[in-house]
């Protein structure tokens, strides 16, 4: 061929006009995106940058790393950090244990029954977190529903300590986080073709083997999505631990609230926020990396 690659296309018929047209199109797209980009800049990038900036100044207004040094120096900070992760792990684990069978049941029900049951999952989701937390307080407190019944039935003589402590925080948060796990998990279970299960049974797998060898692995992407959402929401949760913990369980977000509204130390509060953000992003990255190998197998096939 006599046409050299360099010439090919760059001097052809209307090449200049077509290039200009392509440029115009990209500029137009950028123009259409700009309101969205501006919004993201103003309500996300700018405040976070400001937060980061604030965290670099100590109480006297001097540029210093004192706000970050506190995390290693003060035992209470480290305790808060550990408590936060304890709660997040426990709540995520419990949500998984309760949510997986629930989502599985929903996915196997006939369409009408499933949509009715879904309402019971979604309805609390629409109710205010505050209302639900107070409801739990009423149910779990010393003279609450649970303790009264258990004492009346003669199962216990002393009321169980269910509210205003660690157990209360876990119960309340698990209830509030459950839909965040069930909904993505249910959605992913619904996409598992019944033919996979039929094929497994046809090939000689009894129901339990079919579940563990075929259904469960295929539902892992949905479970992972739900777990990540619940875990990250737990890390920054405020209302329920504040009310159910009775001041005994201090989580990260509560510490933030204390430093800013009680001690008016904006620098220290900002530093807490920055650390939480960094840890959350780091965990998300870790999840992605860990799931990467499996996800390529499971997600790639869809």
């Amino acid at each position: 061929m006599s046409v050299r690659p360099a010439e090919f296309g760059s001097h052809g018929l209307n090449a200049g006009a077509l290039r200009a047209d392509a440029r115009r199109e990209s500029l137009g797209l950028l123009g259409l995106c700009s309101p969205g980009l501006a919004l993201v800049g103003i309500i996300i990038v700018l405040p976070i940058g400001w937060l980061f900036w604030l965290s670099l100044f100590d109480e006297s207004g001097q540029l210093s790393g004192a706000n970050y040094a506190r995390f290693v120096e003060q035992a209470s900070y480290i305790r808060t950090f550990i408590t936060t992760f304890e709660v997040a792990f426990l709540v995520t684990g419990l949500c998984g244990l309760i949510g997986y069978p629930l989502a599985y049941m929903l996915s196997q029900l006939p369409r009408r029954a499933a949509s009715i049951c879904l309402i019971f999952v979604v309805l609390p989701f629409w109710t205010s977190v505050l209302v639900r937390t107070y409801a739990w307080l009423v149910i779990l407190q010393r003279k609450g529903l649970v303790n009264t019944w258990l004492i009346d039935l003669g199962l216990i003589s002393q009321p169980l300590p269910l509210a205003h402590n660690f157990a209360g925080v876990i119960i309340g948060m698990t209830h509030i986080m459950l839909p965040f796990l069930v909904l993505p998990l249910y959605a992913s279970m619904k996409t598992i073709d019944a033919d996979y299960l039929r094929a497994a049974m046809n090939l000689g797998a009894p129901p339990t083997a079919t579940f563990w060898q075929v259904f469960f692995p295929l539902s892992l992407p949905g479970l992972a999505a739900g777990v990540v959402i619940v875990f990250i929401l737990c890390l920054g949760f405020f209302v329920t631990p504040a009310l159910m913990g009775g001041g005994k369980v201090i989580m990260w977000a509560m510490r933030m609230e204390q430093t800013t509204s009680l001690y008016s130390n904006w620098g220290a509060g900002s530093a807490l926020g920055v650390v939480l953000l960094a840890v959350t992003l780091g965990l998300l990255g870790l999840f992605r990396w860990l799931l990467g190998a499996r996800a390529a197998n499971v997600w790639g096939a869809r």
Binding site: A199, L203, A205, Q213, A301
Partner: protein, 367 residues
């Protein structure tokens, strides 16, 4: 590997299935001979897939019996039936590679690792997928997935193999290639096979016998040649191949059309209105000189006067649409041989058509 030694017959008796109040299968009997390739052919909603699902054990029938080699299986769960199945969408497990997909049935049967490896290797050889054991399912082409699905269905040497439109997702060329391949694989392994399709050409190409299903019943069960040449009902004639339906009158044991006696191969029918089924390629242009077909009427030939309406050229063949004297439409197909092309009539030209008695079949007019 050989399955033939143990391939059992299947005897299906009185199968009935309703979905809600809608009957899908009604009192269906079917016998599949040992090692036979039998196709269930029918339009969607005819119940063919439901019957297959009942055979595999995924759908519970309301009544009936399935006897496989002398053993009643109607209440057995699917994983105890030992029946291989190829699904329409293949249903290959996306989280396993080719090897683990094919090894899955062996794993359920607690086969040793060494034997599993050997049998997977052998079956991959059989379906010509050597060296693809480590591939992920999503890295395979449609034809390769089809072969993996087939390999997985036969690796545990099941007594019976069911196939639910396994070729419908492939493009035309590959589909025709796989039809031949499946057929020869069946000849080599000799497993009793029940195949479901709505593609009549596919059914004719592959099957030992075809059961044409309509509205939950088997309309006709015959070898492909018999089914094509001697359809027993209007539905079968219309579903398999193309057909001309000419309304005729039966009186005194003879068949009459437009005041003329029609010679047919069918035994004397009861009086009343019937339909004459004639395949387009069995209608011939009659020319008096006798070059294309003899135009003289006789005991074995019906001659019909017609007017050509249109001729459609299709490369290897042509279709001639003509109107009979009373306006009844009739289609004729022939190959484009030079002697035929030289005498091809044009639209509006009167012609004579010849239909031999053995190509004229009577069926009941069911409307």
């Amino acid at each position: 590997m050989s399955i033939a030694r143990s391939a059992p017959p299947i005897n299906i008796r009185g199968i009935a299935k309703r979905f809600g109040s809608v009957p899908v299968l009604s009192d269906l009997d079917l016998d599949v001979a040992s090692g036979e390739f039998l196709t269930l052919l029918g339009p969607s909603g005819s119940g063919k897939t439901t019957l297959l699902m009942i055979l595999a054990g995924f759908v519970r029938a309301n009544a009936g019996s399935i006897d496989i080699g002398g053993e009643e299986v109607i209440t057995k769960p699917p994983h105890k039936r030992n029946i291989g199945m190829v699904f329409q969408n293949y249903a290959l497990f996306p989280h396993m590679n080719v090897f683990h997909n094919i090894a899955f049935p062996l794993k359920q049967r607690r086969t040793s690792a060494a034997e599993t490896a050997e049998r997977v290797e052998r079956v991959l050889d059989l379906v010509q997928l050597q060296g693809l054991a480590d591939r992920r399912v999503d890295q395979l082409s449609g034809g390769q997935r089809q072969r993996v699905a087939l390999a997985r269905a036969i690796v545990f040497e099941p007594r019976i193999v069911l196939m639910d439109e396994p070729l419908s997702a492939l493009d035309k060329g590959l589909r025709e290639h796989m039809q031949i391949e499946l057929r020869s694989l069946h000849r080599r392994l000799g497993m009793t096979t029940v195949y479901v399709t709505h593609d009549q050409r596919e059914a004719i190409t592959m099957s030992d016998r075809i059961a044409v299903m309509n509205k939950g019943r088997i309309e006709q069960l015959d070898q492909p040649e018999t089914l094509y040449a001697r359809p027993r009902t209007k539905f079968v004639a219309g579903f398999i191949g193309e057909s001309n339906f000419i309304p005729v009158e039966c009186r005194d044991g003879s068949v009459w059309y437009a005041g003329k006696k029609v010679h047919t191969a069918s035994p004397s029918p009861p009086s009343g209105r019937h339909l004459l089924v004639v395949r387009p390629e069995r209608v011939r242009l009659a020319v008096d000189a006798g070059l294309v077909a003899d135009a003289r009427p006789g005991a074995n030939a019906n001659i019909l006067d017609a007017t050509v309406r249109d001729i459609v050229y299709q490369g290897d063949s042509f279709i001639c649409y003509a109107n009979l004297a009373d306006g009844q439409q009739i289609a004729l197909r022939d190959y484009c041989r030079s002697d035929v092309l030289a005498r091809l009539p044009v639209a509006g030209q009167p012609v004579r058509l010849r239909v031999d008695a053995e190509d004229a079949i009577l069926v009941a007019d069911e409307t």
